[in-house]
Symmetry: C2
């Protein structure tokens, strides 16, 4: 009996990322989190399906949160949880979920302990960072103490890449994960336009394999293409990859015979 039948198929786990920050929309700061999170989730078997970037504006943040959290297994957010007036993410999450928000005793204890050891003063601004929507779990911040949080299917993280990365490591073991997507990259040694028609036919014949085509310029040999195949099933992936390899050989053979 094939092994695949002995355990129920794992569900597809999806995610969206909401990047919150005026500074990225103005071009002043270049985002470093999207690519990191995309790779990280893919490695876990979680499908990142959508990313949105919005400014520090309540209406936009609440609307995006509500649209995304209904659609995907998880919504990750980055940015807007610091001590200043433009850090409004926690309040927006509370509003989206319709729950109250106030100073959280657990978050307060963490910050007070940190301040005791560093000698930094507690004040109104820092107290902002202890405001957590009711019902949320804290996400530990091993870098600078002020925690992120997790409510419903929304995971709220800092925008500073090192802190965001530490928070992601913290939540990763608790995430549902789907079947890992397997992928294979084939270097075509052909122009994208010379293989497009045939590739489309192979894609149609292999509906469970996502086939992407990415042109690039090789300074030594000129225009070239990477063909990337992605699938959950190893056998289906191998079959489609074989079909692409055979096709590429035919195309290259025809070209060298010209």
């Amino acid at each position: 009996m094939p092994r695949a039948e002995s355990s129920p198929p794992k569900e597809v786990v999806t995610a969206a990322l909401l990047v919150i920050g005026e500074e990225i929309l103005s071009g002043r700061t270049k985002d470093k989190n999207i690519g990191y999170i995309a790779e990280y989730l893919t490695a876990l078997g979680i499908d990142l399906r959508e990313v949105r970037l919005v400014g520090d504006e309540e209406g936009s943040i609440v609307e995006a949160l509500n649209a995304l959290r209904q659609r995907y297994t998880y919504v990750f957010t980055t940015g807007g949880i610091g001590p200043t007036h433009d850090d409004i993410t926690a309040d927006c999450v509370a509003k989206a979920f319709g729950v109250p928000i106030d100073v959280d005793p657990r978050a307060l204890a963490i910050l007070q302990e940190r301040m005791r050891t560093t000698g930094v003063e507690m004040n109104e601004a820092r107290l902002r960072m202890t405001r957590i929507p009711k019902g949320a779990e804290l996400v530990e911040n091993k870098v600078s103490a002020a925690p992120g949080f997790w409510i419903g299917n929304v995971i709220v993280m800092a925008g500073v890449p090192t802190i965001m990365q530490a928070m992601l490591d913290e939540v990763a073991p608790k995430l549902k994960t789907g079947v890992r997507i397997l992928s294979q990259t084939l270097r075509a040694d052909a122009r994208e336009g010379d293989i497009g028609t045939q590739l489309g036919e192979i894609a149609k014949a292999n509906p469970e394999v996502a086939i992407g085509s990415y042109p690039f310029f090789d300074p030594q040999h000129g225009p070239n293409t990477n063909v990337v195949l992605r699938a959950r099933d190893a056998q289906k992936l191998a079959l489609a990859a074989r079909a692409v390899e055979d096709m590429l050989q035919r195309v290259r053979g025809a070209q060298s015979g010209r």
Copy 2:
């Protein structure tokens, strides 16, 4: 008579960016267009208000296009206009606008001319790149010939950064532009948490100046903060910057006196 009163105030011009590409959501390719376009539009006086990234999936692309084009002055898209089966942007734009799409004689002429000079063959795949929604203007591609297009308030560009940049240069002179946003960055020489409360008060007193606060770590002097002020009015910007500078001096004075 002040010069500002002699001409009517310019309108606020807004934009959204829709990045189309599975390869970015999977983390395989790192996006290089968002930051470039954000800076470019800011320099033109166009407010980039929102960015969305979606995969090569018709439903998601059409829905995002329709949501964004109703909300902003311009919608820019990148990606999905190549010769392969996964390049579906042009068809999605036609669907969003409810117009037919077919081989465009102008685009066909451009590609045929290119192929005549390069010796590359026309085929079904390359013909895909001449499919343009009815009513669209072409956007010239000085890098690799296959054009982008502009329909309604949607501007469709390639995903390859060099080509996208050439297309943006092509459309820029034709865009409505708003009043340039002026900005000023002040290095706080203070921790974000030490200036947050006061900064919030200044922000409240200067509603037409957007004040952002961005912590960073200075390897020599430890935690520090950049305060960025942005406004359309130079005088209002200067007033708010003065208030921030005075506040920073008071905070630093209090700290050194401890």
